[in-house]
Amino acid sequence: MKISLRILLALVATLAVFGVMPMFADDEIKVGEYASLTGGSASFGQSSHNGTAMAIEELNAAGGVLGKKLKLITEDDQSQAGQPATIVRKLISQDKVVAVLGEVASGKSLEAAPICQQNSIPMISPASTNPKVTEEGDYIFRVCFIDPFQGTVMAKFAQGKGWKKVAVLTDVKQAYSVGLADFFMKGLVAGGGVVTKEQKYSTGDKDFKAQLTSIKASKPDAIFVPGYYGEVALIAKQAKLLGIKVPLLGGDGWVGDSLLKVAGSALDGSFFSCHFSADDQRPVVQNFVKKYQAKYNEKPDDMAGLGYDSAMILAAAMTRAGTTAGPALRDAIAATKGHPGITGLITIDAQRNASKPAVITGIVSGQFQFVETVAP
């Protein structure tokens, strides 16, 4: 008797899972998106999702693509490694999306890329800058610049300011941070500079006094911190407390809504490279800023702009290809030339990357301030 009860239990559970799957309308084009909507890098995911969603809405309002409406299926990877692989597998096999948009963080894109490649589903990353992402295969694209360029930009900037001795504080948990630190150091040394100290931390750490103490003792002119905004803010605060007066330098990982909220005035005098500035006076940018502000009640940041551009490029490619079939769509995306994106003119090159200028932003009195644009 007992045994059959248990078997019954297991059977019922199994049946429940093998239950009726939700039916999707067939006259829709399904596009998958995986992003960090919650967790330590939630700002990335929420911004890029906002941009992407706004683009999809605009496209649908204008009649959709190829006569059908676009349906965006978004999954949250909770800023955790290991999740992107699972959700992208689900998006592809269960939701049957024709393309995947994501992710901002390079480490997460690296996880999902082999899966998209194997299934011949095109993937467009809005903001992953580590070069290895598009090396995974010819179905993987990105609409932003890559870290060899970004690292060199910051190295040259440091050189220009006369900062020859730079210490580097890397987040060893993020492929992005490790890669960018590498490229920066190469650029720095090539320009005659010297790396005074290399220290590490992990995403999620709260206390950096030990690393900063060691860095301070090496007497650098500046500190390169190619990490994500959550930790960078804390690092800046603690650096100030420890009496470190030199500026911090960083990359596009600094772009997060809580950066200035948490750091306060600790980041004054620091600089970072990114993709876009809301102060850019080009009409296409100002239009976007107005629309975004009206819809979401806040100013858009890089990730929002890139999210928007990635969706638009996908739609344009679909229209050009005349179909959503994998190989044809892939070819169409690869042929994108001079697309008038929010973040600049986007041309997808032979390595499936976009060659675009970088924007250097400074922080003055707790506010972002545009410094200069650096062309590739």
Partner: protein
């Protein structure tokens, strides 16, 4: 059991093998769940041997899984470890003792590295099936060795202390991996070949259950149970409690390593975070839910708890549920923890009761 049991095992394995290609064809989503079930069964049953039958509360099972996953992947990805060289400073120190010590350590480690590198290259040449078997065995043996290293210091410890030490070993294993560049350090390993299929997973699940059941119904089993019920009395009766405790750890770790190898070649990406304290707790919950010391119960608990998060994910998407309930469904940890608390308060022997009516936990 006996000869009939062996034939039964062979029969089931053949069935798995035959069914495998067909099962591989079903929707990838359900396939994923099925493989997940198989892996969890292996993990839960192997932990049950340590926690349930031998009464050693181990909170570090995920560490053994990690060893198996990483060693197995190191082989299939042909990761070649670099050789250890004697550091410079030993030359500066006057004593020859540090240099000698380092020399010995370096020799041993380099011998191991040579074996591994040779094996990695050699295994590449083999046909697929043999490759995976060797990869899994390699991972399992490595994990078993780790089990030995963990089991021995833990011998003198009881209850709470043992729990925290096994937890500590889990963290140490994680820490070692996080600092090992060839193993991907904190970034993890990507692109592991997708070799896991129905046959391998359920084949090993069946083997695990078979081995554990056989072990428990033999004289070894009496030894395990004796250690669990009253260690001092067992010692007094002449039972080598050391031997049984270490044996339980080693065998449990071996199968956890196999599960790790299967996991790595299924997810195609592994990183140290996946094998932390929370994963260990996941497995412990399965063992407790099933009834510590009850293999059949533990198997069902593993199936149930693998399906539950997926069910909850579906439920979370139902639009008609109030928001907060949706969120609770999304967050399976809330339900897991509540389950643990309620279970301990009302029915500590788990859903399915104890082995032979007695067990580690019972309502006094």
């Amino acid at each position: 059991m006996g000869a009939r049991g062996n034939y039964l095992l062979l029969g089931v394995l053949t069935l798995c093998g035959v069914a495998s290609p067909w099962v591989g064809g079903i929707s990838p989503y359900y396939f994923d769940i099925l493989i997940g079930i198989g892996i969890n069964i292996i993990l839960a049953v192997s932990l049950n041997l340590v926690n349930g039958y031998t009464g050693q509360f181990s909170l570090g099972h995920a560490g053994f899984m990690a060893v198996g996953a990483y060693l197995g992947s190191a082989l299939s990805l042909v990761v070649k470890f670099p050789y250890v060289s004697i550091p410079e400073w030993t030359g500066n120190v006057l004593w020859w003792i540090p240099k000698l010590l380092w020399l010995i350590v370096a020799m041993v480690v380099n011998a191991g590295v040579s074996v591994h590198n040779g094996l990695a290259v050699g295994v590449e040449q083999l046909p697929h099936g043999a490759q995976f078997l060797i990869v899994l065995m390699y991972g399992g043996m490595g994990a078993a060795f780790a089990g030995l290293l963990v089991g021995i210091p833990s011998l003198r410890l009881r209850g709470d202390y043992l729990a925290i030490v096994t937890l500590g070993f889990n963290e140490i294993i994680k820490g070692l991996i996080q600092n090992c560049e060839p193993l991907g350090a904190q970034l993890g390993l990507n692109g592991i070949p997708e070799w896991t299929n129905f046959f391998w997973t359920f084949g090993f699940a069946v083997v695990t259950i078979f081995v554990v059941l056989h072990l428990v119904h033999s004289t070894y089993g009496r030894g395990f149970l004796a250690v669990r019920d009253d260690e001092i009395a067992a010692e007094a009766m002449g039972i080598h409690t050391t031997k049984y405790k270490v044996l339980a750890f080693v065998i449990g770790a071996f199968f956890a390593g196999i599960a790790g190898g299967l996991f790595a070649h299924f997810k195609q990406h592994i990183d140290p975070e996946a094998f932390g304290y929370l994963r260990s707790v996941d497995i412990v919950v399965m063992v407790i839910l099933g009834g510590m010391g009850n293999t059949a119960g533990v198997v069902f608990a593993a199936i149930l708890l693998t399906i539950l998060p997926e069910l909850l994910r579906k439920v979370a998407h139902y639009e008609w549920l109030p928001d907060w309930l949706q969120q609770v469904a999304e967050n399976r940890m809330i339900l897991y923890s509540l389950l643990l608390i309620i279970l301990m308060l009302t029915r500590p022997q788990g859903l399915f009761g104890n082995f032979l009516g007695k067990g580690t936990l019972r309502k006094s």
